[in-house]
């Protein structure tokens, strides 16, 4: 069992990217100010938690051989829905300080907001998938158009306000760690703990892993991945599973959106603006194939880890935030090249295996000819 796990680990190319992650992390640990290290690490792990889920949202569509450019827009919409439902309306008159602070909100229990956001995410995703299946228009066009539609809708309906007055329990998803970190009066954490957010992500990862490795739905979604026609021949209603994959993607976006609201302490329309590149990069760095049919859940977390740690490293090196995008873009290119190499490697191994068999067979038939 362990040996098999190890083989898969190497096959997914997780070994090499894990090394990269470890090197980068070591750099962060040695370079940062010891008094701020625990704060940095806790904050980093929250970022990793959120972007692992964003990466898995992309992975869900990649698995069926498609992609979802609208991950950020979906997360944004879900975040705002959640914010509206749980916001406790601000009382008092508007002044400059409270500008754009929401006086509206339903003040519902936090879990109602979260569940509603997840459902909205699933529905929006499923609609996107359904449109792709029914119209047969390239997913690029449809998801690109939906970015604009969803983001626009979000801005128009909410007029770009902030839902800032959120229940304490909801904020605790961000603040609390296990074990609790000590924060000397209002300052930064000085001891280590695993954020609740990170634990949420681990649970979601286990659920997603179960989905792809143990259930009919997962198996059929993967089967749809490489060649939808072959899947149809096998009696799989590929359209249904493509729609479902987009729904799952939307739901994961919503979850990431909700976690981001908790982290920022406010729901705002800019949530999700920078997700698209990260989502592709972390999924593909982690070993999910761009052409579909293969997913790597743990790898996605390592991929997200690399992206987030690189951000931290750049900050530590005092490289201007304006130039971070250059590095992220370069990483994305590397991720795609890795994808290409990985596909070639898989094909090469398989061809070698077939050749050995054929040699054995043709050797046999040669003997017959002589006889």
């Amino acid at each position: 069992m362990i040996k098999k796990g190890l083989v898969n680990f190497v096959k997914n190319d997780l070994a090499s990217i894990s090394v990269v992650l470890i090197v980068l992390l070591t750099f962060v640990i040695t370079k940062s100010n010891p008094s701020r290290l625990s704060f940095t690490m806790v904050s980093l792990s929250k970022d990793i938690a959120i972007f692992t889920i964003v990466g898995m949202a992309q992975m869900a569509t990649l698995a069926v051989g498609q992609f979802n450019l609208a991950v950020g827009a979906m997360g944004g919409v879900a975040g705002m829905v959640c914010g509206y439902l749980i916001n406790i309306p601000y009382e008092g008159s508007m002044n400059v300080d409270t500008y754009a602070q929401a006086e509206i909100g339903l003040a519902l229990p936090w879990y109602v907001g979260v569940i509603a956001a997840l459902i909205i995410g699933f529905i929006v995703g499923a609609i996107q998938g359904g449109m792709i299946v029914k119209t047969k228009i390239n997913p690029f066009i449809i998801t690109l158009a939906l970015i604009s539609v969803l983001h626009g809708l979000n801005m128009a309906v909410t007029r770009n306000i902030y839902f800032r007055n959120l229940p304490e329990v909801f904020k605790a998803i961000n603040k609390n760690t296990i074990p609790a970190t000590t924060t000397p009066d209002g300052g930064q954490a000085t001891t280590y703990g695993v954020p609740v957010m990170f634990i949420v992500t681990l649970v979601v990862m286990v659920v997603v892993w179960m989905l792809y490795n143990r259930t009919i739905l997962g198996r059929k979604m993967l089967a749809t991945g490489v060649n939808t026609r072959a899947a149809d021949f096998a009696g799989i209603n590929s359209g249904r599973y493509i729609t479902l994959a987009h729904g799952i993607s939307g739901m994961l976006c919503a979850l990431a959106g909700v976690l981001t609201v908790s982290k920022l302490g406010a729901a705002q329309t800019s949530i999700g603006d920078n997700w698209m590149l990260y989502s592709f990069a972390s999924a593909i760095l982690g070993g999910t194939l761009l052409n579909g049919g293969k997913v790597s859940i743990f790898g996605t977390m390592i991929g997200a880890g690399i992206m987030m740690v690189v951000n931290t490293v750049l900050t530590l090196l005092k490289i201007s935030a304006f130039s971070h995008q250059i590095f992220i873009g370069a990483l994305l290119l590397i991720a795609f090249m890795l994808n290409k190499g990985r596909e070639a490697l898989i094909r090469q191994q398989e061809r070698a295996a077939v050749k050995v068999q054929d040699d054995v067979q043709s050797g046999g038939s040669k003997n017959e000819e002589f006889a």
């Binding site: 143990r214 009919i216 198996r219 089967a223 060649n227 026609r229 049919g293 061809r351």
Partner: protein, 496 residues
């Protein structure tokens, strides 16, 4: 003595572990029309690929005008004075007919600018010679398949090359068009052009040919002059093995009807197809490319929308909207028309076999491993299949084992009707035999098999009945007695 313009010497080629060309030697003299008949589309295509510079031979030599040449790239092919008329059009779809005709003709251009008037005049003239009633400004993509072929012939005429190779393996031209081609070929022969026609049927272009090569399973088994070209002799040559082998496979006669189809039609292809299939019977459907033989299978399996027609299973009328409906009704189709459609290449062998039966081996959508392993074991026993590692990737299996995995998936569904499309395509002899034996064992078990195939040899070996398809409907039928009796050669010859 006429000059030899083309010679192949001992060409061998292996593709995907299958020997498609075995020591092929042939020659072509100037002004001569030679037909190369082959039963294996793949072998013929690789000869075309050889001249096009797309396929490199493993061994052997090619001589043109007595000089040995190497064809390493498509450009070499163009330089080598060879015009190829491809079975699938090599016209550029988003250019007009005229633009396609003059694409490579330098003398119809002045520097970077085209001499459009001159081109147009020549194009109109050409289309008239070719009997094509189309405008030179028509988009190539709007042409029908046979029209594309004729335009390609026009291109070959413009080329003024010494050698023309025509790949006729999959095309269905009507009598008029064949006549037209024959006329043009005669004309070209007078201009000392050598023509090599590669065909999978005996009928077309036999009358204009001076000689005919017969190729079987990749090697040339006969070189006949037209004078000795009597159909009987050729058919005997082709069917020889079948008669000596047939003893190996024993077929039961059956009478209980399983499937009946009445008046099946689709939008593009099928017209009023009616037939019935008995329990344990193997019925073959054959015909040329575009005859509708594949579409029958797809329509029955819910992959193609039907316009009219009734399907009865065990005398009960059923409707099949999609493949999963069909599988529920115990009708399973496997297609190897294209290699990648038969299997899910990213899944393991085990996952491929159980994919259509996941509902039966799971609780609340969660797959139960022990049930999955049990299903695999049962199917392995059924097929006496032996794959050491269930979790092996499909690409890691040999071609014949890949086929068996597909068959295992079909059998896991307990089918009453099994529709197979080109099940032995691309396999070697020994592997073919294994697959055919499996089919016969299925039929012994009472499964009705609809075998849609282009390989006459295998059809003759395992079928109770054979239907010939053309223009979207059944146009001929022979049953086992006719297949068995040699006197019915004439019926047989109408098939090939």
């Amino acid at each position: 003595m006429r000059k030899e313009i083309l010679r192949l010497e001992n060409i061998c080629k292996t593709i995907d572990g299958v020997k498609v060309l075995k020591n092929v030697s042939l020659n072509l003299y100037e002004g001569e029309t030679v037909k190369l008949y082959g039963d294996e589309g793949r072998s013929l295509s690789s000869i075309v690929g050889l001249f096009g510079g797309v396929i490199k031979p493993d061994s052997g030599r090619i001589y043109i005008d007595g000089k040995e040449i190497k064809l390493a790239s498509p450009l070499d092919g163009k330089k080598a004075e060879i015009s190829i008329i491809h079975k699938k059009s090599d016209l550029i779809p988003n250019l007009t007919v005229m633009e396609n005709l003059f694409l490579e003709r330098k003398n119809y251009a002045r520097g970077l600018f085209l001499k459009e008037k001159k081109q147009r005049a020549r194009a109109v003239e050409l289309l008239e010679i070719l009997g094509l009633d189309i405008s030179p400004d028509m988009m190539a993509s709007d042409l029908k398949l046979e029209q594309m072929q004729i335009v390609q012939l026009g291109k070959a005429l413009l080329d003024d090359r010494k050698i023309i190779i025509m790949d006729h393996t999959h095309i269905l031209l009507d009598k008029e068009q064949i006549k037209l081609f024959e006329g043009v070929f005669n004309e070209l022969a007078k201009r000392n052009v050598g023509i090599l026609i590669l065909a999978q049927n005996l009928r077309d272009f036999t009358s204009v040919s001076d000689r005919m090569y017969i190729m079987k399973e990749g090697s040339i088994i006969g070189n006949l002059m037209t004078s000795e070209m009597e159909k009987d002799k050729i058919i005997q040559m082709i069917a020889k093995d079948y008669y000596s082998e047939k003893s190996g496979i024993y077929l039961n006669q059956t009478s209980e009807e399983v499937l009946r189809v009445e008046g099946l039609s689709t939008k593009n292809m099928l017209r009023n197809v009616s037939f019935s299939l008995n329990k344990g019977e193997i019925v073959s459907i054959t015909g040329s490319y575009g005859s509708g033989k594949y579409e029958v299978g797809y329509a029955l399996y819910g992959m193609e929308r039907t316009l009219g027609g009734k399907i009865y299973l065990h005398n009960k009328r059923i409707k099949i909207k999609n493949p999963s409906d069909a599988i529920k009704r115990k009708i399973v189709l496997l297609s190897f028309e294209k290699k990648e459609n038969g299997l899910l290449y990213n899944l393991s062998a085990k996952e491929n076999i159980t994919i259509s039966r996941l509902g039966n081996i799971s609780n609340f959508a969660i797959i139960r491993k022990e049930l999955e392993n049990w299903l695999i074991k049962t199917v392995y026993n059924d097929l006496s299949l032996n794959i050491e590692d269930d979790n092996i990737a499909i690409e890691g299996l040999s071609l014949v084992n890949q086929r068996k995995v597909s068959l295992a998936r079909a059998i896991s569904c307990n089918p009453d009707v099994l529709i197979l499309i080109d099940p032995t395509k691309g396999l070697e002899n020994e592997s073919k035999k294994q697959i055919l034996e499996l089919l016969v064992s299925f039929s012994d078990r009472g499964i009705a098999i609809l075998l849609i195939s282009s390989n006459l040899h295998e059809i003759l070996q395992v079928s109770h009945r054979v239907w010939l398809f053309s223009n979207g409907t059944i146009t001929g039928c022979i049953d086992r007695d006719m297949i068995e009796s040699r006197e019915q050669m004439n019926i047989l010859s109408s098939f090939i």
